[in-house]
Amino acid sequence: MKSAVIVFPGSNCDRDMAVVLEQVSGRKPLMVWHREAELPDSLDLVAVPGGFSYGDYLRSGAMAARSPVMRAVVEAAGRGVSILGVCNGFQILTEAGLLPGALMRNAGLHFVCRDVPLRVENSQTAFTCRYDAGEEILIPVAHHDGNYQADPDTLDRLEGEGRIAFRYAGACNGSARDIAGIVGEAGNVLGMMPHPERMVEPAHGGADGRRLFEGLLEAIG
């Protein structure tokens, strides 16, 4: 699995993402700066990591979504390359139009930073194939703008097409229908607020996040 991690000014989970990708795939991911207009050749996976790109100016993810590298990421997604956006990465993918909806300020206005139980809703995606449908897993969240919102038609479509990958198993941030992560129409783009890369070995308090990366390796090689 040849992967790349995009680095924006203000990214802060890029290193964690790179560590788990190397552990699982045995290959060091390429770190790609936001000013690059092209991605390295023959990538299997692009990870858009968490953090506070551009200081969350205007809206979380808004500036990053318009950076040169994101045009290349949108193009790669169109070619079928797997794209994983975590936390700020999820916000960036919605702002870039790769995923529907928007991530708004948490309903309670508080920054939520804790381990949360998630329910795996669809285990048929490349990202979730190592989980069982309906399984509860524990993954940490750390965000201020994780309140997923979309119009009712979009939400119904996401439900109907099995595009809700993860749901919070309990209230977290006010997200519509407790949505924690969704996949794009073609199934090769996943955006999620919780951080699977922060739960990959027992010392983290659990390793439920690791299976997402192992599943990806299995599904895309």
Binding site: L58, M104, L109
Partner: protein
Amino acid sequence: MKTRVYVTLKKGVLDPQGKAIHHALEGLGFAGVNEVRAGKLIELDLDPGVGEAEVEAMCRKLLANIVIENFRIEREAPTEEGA
């Protein structure tokens, strides 16, 4: 030319920030506030040649997220010497 872009949350979109401001106003003893909605004001200083359609494109492409926000453009009437 000064142009103001007002970005506001669409009707029906929950505004936790507006709610918090509302509560704070009530806490300060201000009565009669029915609802508070918070938005953004973005001021642009534009060349006279920049047309309305272009400002609207700026709003759609970047300044507002039209999934959740509306925008309103207010252009300042050109002054005598600036016209």
